[in-house]
Point group: C2
Chain length 378, copies 2
């Protein structure tokens, strides 16, 4: 048997759901419903038999055309044949790792970053080359990145932009520099952009998918889950050059045949009707981000966090050492969070919270944490 | 890059869909709609936010309870914690292969069998140990099976029962003997039972899941796709011992997070309302099986096939050698079928057709084939 364990995020979420009185800030998913227009659209078309059976492995053509058209409006040059509809971003990344790489290949990865990547690497037999972000403000150290890539010559670099759990947003300039390094070393760039819609403070989001000259080595991994509050539909897409997409398609087909047809129907509607909800979600998340930041200022004797530039996570530093902090917080304070070392090997003294929760929930959670800290001697 | 190609089935199906005048007997999926009660049930519950977001990685509890209860009515002893809701059978098998085995492990496999298994083995680094069925009537040679297992000591045996593409149905006695061999060699039994509902001539279907004493090494892989005409929903399940299920769950989570929630909702309804449709499907498929058999008797100068005991496939032997038979049939006669060597290395002179099509489609397809054969000199 392989040595793959259930991720810390899912362990905490499962425990939380099994304990009714626990507040879970563990798994990151919006507590909104999917936009009602999307739900109505699905209801209106659900009797059509075409949505009951397999689509092509790549996905429904109309949906791929819509996605291509959106990408191309932003400067891209994608055809529907260069897009695979996937069952979410994890599924898209997994198909990519299992098709474009051999066991023993290495991939550079910024960290701290999304816990599942490390486990997915294990499944595919891929060796991670860690490029830690600056612990001061979680910015990218381009010199370190360049040195590490030069030293290890990985086959690819995997980016999460904006980054889960730190909220780091890579700038256009940084991405162009990474793209040039990738050209130099003939390296693929995999970019998980599931939080690209959730960037704060009027910052611009930039994706390399808007520059056709990088298509041959750029793989964009997207999802409808967070943007349209559609996590349960398991729907997303990847796009790249035709050559790469054909490679990934074979494995995608073996992993799932095709993305769920009904969810593809929903995705068509979310592209047509979802934008105003996205703006609403964004406003709400901005409020919650700021609320949570204000709330934890009361706890600055015990912890510290930078305000994220994107995503709905805080990666929080504990100012003192606590043994089994997350278990204790769960058992005593009834608040589920995820321990820092799930996001990379250097973060024992950190934990992640998701603020994609109702404001009252966040207020209660921080109250519980406050009581916990003031009662606890480290 | 790994050397995984798009399966022959999907290649043919894609070509067929791109050519409007081609009749596809390539990919096997029912041309029925999902039962209308299921569709109505989904419509009635689709506004409930719980179906918009992730379920637990294992799947919705109510659905798992229903499945456990059905299994236990047949003699099993499964708890909901011993079931994972998957995005179909392929996804369930892939998660099993990537969790319970190491690259380099070997698994015994009857053949000819479902083309995707070989590709899935490649992804997981698994070595197949072929156990060919008797070419005369495609029955199992238990002595050969026993010898091969003794010689190669594989970690598991993978069964497809009834078998795609030959329709072979393994009897209770054969399965018990395989189970005893598995005990002796401490081997897992993986059984893909997606066609278990589709057994003809009043034959009984038997599953090892009805015998609790084999649960510790038996992994049942099931799907709602074929039984309830739900291929597009991507929904199925696996069940086994708690120990094995926990192992598989970690990888399942990394492949897809959870099965699509809306499809889990549909699956609940199909278990409640789907049975009478299954009887209808079965009657229809029986007619189509018999019709196709009668039709091809006209072609017995060119080909031969055994009537399947289950599934909706014929695995057909060509009596003479034709070069690139399936391409020629596609290009000249406009009929898409799948070449035999997709189902195992010994079947160059065979091809598979799916008869899950309207009778008129089958009639036209055989007419086209007849014209093709009579015009062609091998």
């Amino acid at each position: 048997m392989r040595n793959i364990e259930l991720s810390e995020i899912k362990k905490m979420e499962k425990q939380a759901r099994e304990n009714g009185d626990v507040i879970s800030l563990a798994q990151g998913y919006p507590d909104f419903s999917t936009p009602w227009q999307v739900v109505e659209f699905v209801k209106n078309h659900l009797h059509e038999a075409v949505w009951h059976q397999y689509t092509l492995a790549m996905g429904n053509l109309k949906l791929r055309e819509k996605i291509a058209s959106n990408l191309n409006e932003e400067g891209g040059s994608y055809s529907p044949e260069e897009i695979i509809i996937t069952a979410g971003a994890n599924a898209g990344l997994m198909a990519t790792l299992l098709s474009c790489f051999q066991p023993g290949d290495s991939i550079a990865i910024l960290c701290p970053t999304y816990a599942s990547y490390f486990q997915q690497f294990k499944i595919a037999g891929i060796i991670p080359i860690f490029i830690p972000l600056n612990e001061k403000n979680w910015s990218l150290d381009l010199e370190l990145l360049s040195d590490r890539i030069n030293a290890h010559k990985p086959k690819a670099i995997l980016l999460c932009n904006p980054n889960n759990p730190t909220g780091t947003l890579l700038s256009k300039n940084e991405l162009l520099q990474i793209a040039n390094i990738a050209e130099k070393y003939n390296m693929l760039i995999l970019c998980d952009e599931v939080y690209s819609f959730l960037v704060y403070d009027n910052k611009e989001y930039f994706s390399l998918s808007s520059l056709p000259e990088f298509k041959h080595n750029f793989i964009k991994i997207q999802s409808f889950s967070k943007k349209y509050a559609m996590t349960g539909w398991r729907i997303g897409y990847i796009c790249s050059s035709k050559k790469i997409i054909e490679k990934i398609l074979s494995v995608h087909d073996l992993l799932i045949n095709c993305a769920p047809s009904v969810s593809q129907l929903a995705a068509i509607s979310s592209l047509e009707n979802g934008e105003k909800f996205v703006n609403y979600f964004k406003e709400e998340f901005t409020k919650r981000r700021d609320l949570f930041y204000d709330l934890i200022q009361d706890l600055n004797e015990f912890l510290f966090a930078y305000k994220p530039q994107g995503t709905y996570f805080y990666f929080i530093k504990l100012k003192k050492n606590y043994e089994n902090f997350t278990s204790q917080l769960f058992n005593v304070a009834k608040v589920a969070v995820v321990k820092g070392n799930a996001f990379g090997p250097f973060y024992d003294n950190y934990f992640r919270i998701s603020f994609a929760k109702e404001p009252e929930v966040l207020i209660t959670a921080v109250e519980r944490m406050k009581k916990f800290f003031t009662q606890l001697t480290p």
